[in-house]
């Protein structure tokens, strides 16, 4: 299966046909999202080391896959993610401080603003895949035009939830886009141990719909594939599976150490394919980037991330009895009694 690529690792345009139509402003916006996302991630790792966040899952190296795809969504579209997709949330306008809040163990960080159609990120791997199929199906049944995009990794493709979700999507032709970030590693287990398939994208064929393989570090390839898949779904032409071929540069989480199972050389090789640098170099050639611009957007990002770090720790503390909230619409007698005893 051929991999879709517009920008090679040297930022040379290798494919002009079908190069996505993005205005200069949109390209800059994508770059700015990459910059702030990377900063968010970097600061999260530092906050974790200082004990201000709990275990944290970094997406370093996967910015193009997450931002390029999320940028293709319309406001009414839904997205469902795993625990490593913060750049998707940032792209869709989710408040930064709430991401930190969640990763600091405060459940209020999971309250999605009314203007965002998404479900809270799921921790059990792949379980969100069939949820997205149901959401997409509900939209179809209600005659709505929204599409659901679901994010997951290579490890998730081994799970039954993946199979059952993909199968339902094919059978009922629901407007769902399956966005798989093949970052090569599920904690310490390489993708070769997840599947004997040559690609993950080819799995879609077995479910009766299109599978696409894209260079997940080329933001234009990711954007184009996702935009096409969303347009297709919106037009009632069914689901698409997209494999973004990318790499997790950091450890699985802050509780993990990649040096136990990966070769330093492998990681160094992938650093050369850095998605943010790739876009930056392209923009410089196009006259969309210079040092002054970089300085300005770095400063803007710094301000926003700093504000988020201050905000997530200055919210009103949770009250212990808050844990009883939202279990049922009306708390049954037993829970009310337990709350009373607790106080």
């Amino acid at each position: 299966m051929e991999m879709i690529q517009f920008l090679d690792p040297e930022s040379k345009v290798v494919n002009f046909e079908g190069f996505p139509k993005l205005s200069d402003g949109e390209v800059k916006k994508i770059y700015e999202l990459m910059v702030i996302s990377r900063m968010f991630d970097d600061i999260a790792l530092k906050l974790q080391r200082e004990g201000r966040l709990l275990t944290y899952a970094s997406f370093l190296g996967q910015e193009a896959s997450q931002i390029g795809s999320a940028f293709a969504l319309e406001k009414e579209d839904w997205f469902l993610t795993s625990y490593r997709d913060h750049a998707v949330w940032i792209t869709r306008g989710f408040p930064l401080h709430m991401l930190y809040q969640y990763w600091a163990g405060d459940e209020r960080g999971m309250k999605i603003p009314d203007n965002i159609n998404a479900l809270p990120a799921t921790i059990p791997v792949g379980t969100q895949i069939p949820h997205a199929v149901g959401v997409a199906w509900a939209n179809k049944l209600q005659g709505k035009k929204s599409v659901a995009v679901v994010y997951f990794g290579d490890g998730a493709t081994s799970k039954g939830d993946f199979h059952e979700g993909m199968n339902f999507a094919g059978v009922f032709q629901v407007p769902c886009v399956f966005l798989c970030q093949n970052n090569q590693w599920a904690i310490s287990v390489p993708v070769e141990r997840q599947t004997a398939s040559e690609t993950l994208a080819q799995k879609a064929a077995a479910y009766g719909f299109e599978g696409v393989l894209v260079d997940g570090n080329d933001v234009f390839a990711v954007y184009k594939a996702t935009k096409d898949a969303i347009d297709k779904a919106r037009a009632g032409k069914g689901p698409t599976f997209i494999e973004c071929y990318t790499y997790r540069l950091e450890s699985h989480t802050t509780a993990d150490d990649w040096k136990r199972y990966r070769d330093v050389k492998e990681v160094e090789e992938w650093k050369k394919r850095d998605p943010v640098e790739r876009l930056k170099k392209y923009m410089r050639k196009k006259g969309l980037w210079d040092e002054k611009y970089e300085e300005k957007i770095l400063n803007d990002a710094k301000l926003k991330v700093r504000e988020a770090t201050q905000k997530f720790e200055s919210v009103e503390p949770l009250k212990p009895k808050d844990m009883f909230k939202y279990v049922y619409e009306t708390a049954p007698e037993q829970i009310q009694e337990q709350m009373k005893d607790f106080e």
Binding site: E107, H131, G134, E164, Y328, P332, Q334
Partner: protein, 324 residues
């Protein structure tokens, strides 16, 4: 008023709720053209069509997890699992997602879905077709667990379940499907999902049962009616439990026997026994007794009737408690 059985009652309630609310859809294995393996959804596909009565792929996890997605995005799915033994793989999705989407989203979303589960044994079925898993579901915070015992209460409970804003596990006692006929009003009515019913008043002893065991208990204690004044409670909803009705009853009688079909160990009866001793300790004249399935896998058909509590076992336990 027409006398109908449990299958007819559930069928007509589904029809009624679907007519009333366009968001209600049915999905599961064979629920469409075939009307379900127990014929509970008979005629509904013909009436409501492919978009509202949906034959799905043979995939229990898919059925429940796709239903969750449907529910959060505005539908009211009523999925069916064909037999209780096959609901086990669904528990991952039920425990981790269906029951806590309200909590996980801080109240933004809920999952108004009703999982219909043919429940229990006694119909000479194959392996894995006769389990009683109410404890599994009742243990999960965020769910409601409902179990009718006959056609009349099934209608009111199912209507309430479908109208409930959250997820409900609806356990249908399959050996009762065609075994009881009752007068059931055609007009819609609801039964609250937090109330047990005192089906027979009495002053000597309280017998608590739910689902299929309710019929067994009623028949069993009729043999003792000249000897003791027996109060019978039908729980109807297992989660949340109506503690008040149970405790008030045992405060009055001082004696209690709990009857369940599931294995005894960590069964729902254990929760009842604990609840009663917490609430009526000083009124107890005897230890709370449990009549239950044995702590072994549900036997195959040839031995199932030795496993499922019957009148003899129930009455023996009542006598023991009465003579304590």
């Amino acid at each position: 008023m027409a006398k109908i059985n449990l299958i007819q009652s559930i069928n007509s309630t589904l029809r009624q709720e679907m007519e009333k609310d366009k968001r209600v859809i049915l999905l599961g294995e064979d629920v469409g053209r075939n009307g379900g393996v127990f014929r509970v959804t008979e005629g509904l596909w013909q009436k409501f069509g492919d978009e509202r009565v949906i034959d799905t792929p043979l995939a229990e996890v898919g059925i429940i997890s796709v239903s969750l997605g449907l529910a959060v995005a505005g539908m009211k799915p009523v999925p069916e699992v064909q037999f209780d033994g096959f609901s086990i793989p669904m528990i991952d999705q039920i425990y981790n997602h269906v029951s806590r989407i309200r909590k996980r989203s801080q109240g933004k979303y809920s999952a108004p879905l009703v999982l219909r589960v043919p429940h229990g044994g006694g119909i000479r079925a194959y392996e894995h077709h006769s389990e009683s898993l109410e404890t599994f579901f009742s243990h999960i915070p965020g769910l409601k667990v409902v179990t009718p015992s006959g056609p009349y209460n099934a209608k009111g409970l199912l209507a309430s379940s479908i109208q409930d804003p959250g997820p409900v596990i609806f356990l249908e006692p399959k050996r009762v499907y065609r075994a009881i006929r009752e007068e059931v009003p055609e007009k819609e009515y609801t039964i609250p999902l937090n109330k047990a019913e005192v089906v027979q008043g009495g002053s000597d002893i309280t017998v608590i049962a739910w689902g299929a065991m309710q019929k067994v208990v009623r028949e069993a204690v009729s043999e003792l009616s000249s000897k003791y004044s027996i109060e019978i409670i039908d729980l109807l909803t297992l989660s949340p439990l109506d503690k008040k009705t149970i405790i008030n009853s045992v405060k009055k009688t001082g004696r209690c026997v709990v009857v369940q079909e599931a294995p005894r160990k960590c069964g729902y009866g254990a929760e009842l026994a604990a609840t009663i001793q917490e609430g009526a300790f000083l009124n107890l004249e005897a230890p709370i007794a449990r009549v239950a399935g044995f702590d072994i896998p549900m036997p195959l058909a040839k031995l199932e009737n030795y496993y499922i509590p019957d009148a003899a076992r129930i009455n023996k336990e009542i006598e023991k408690v009465m003579s304590f």
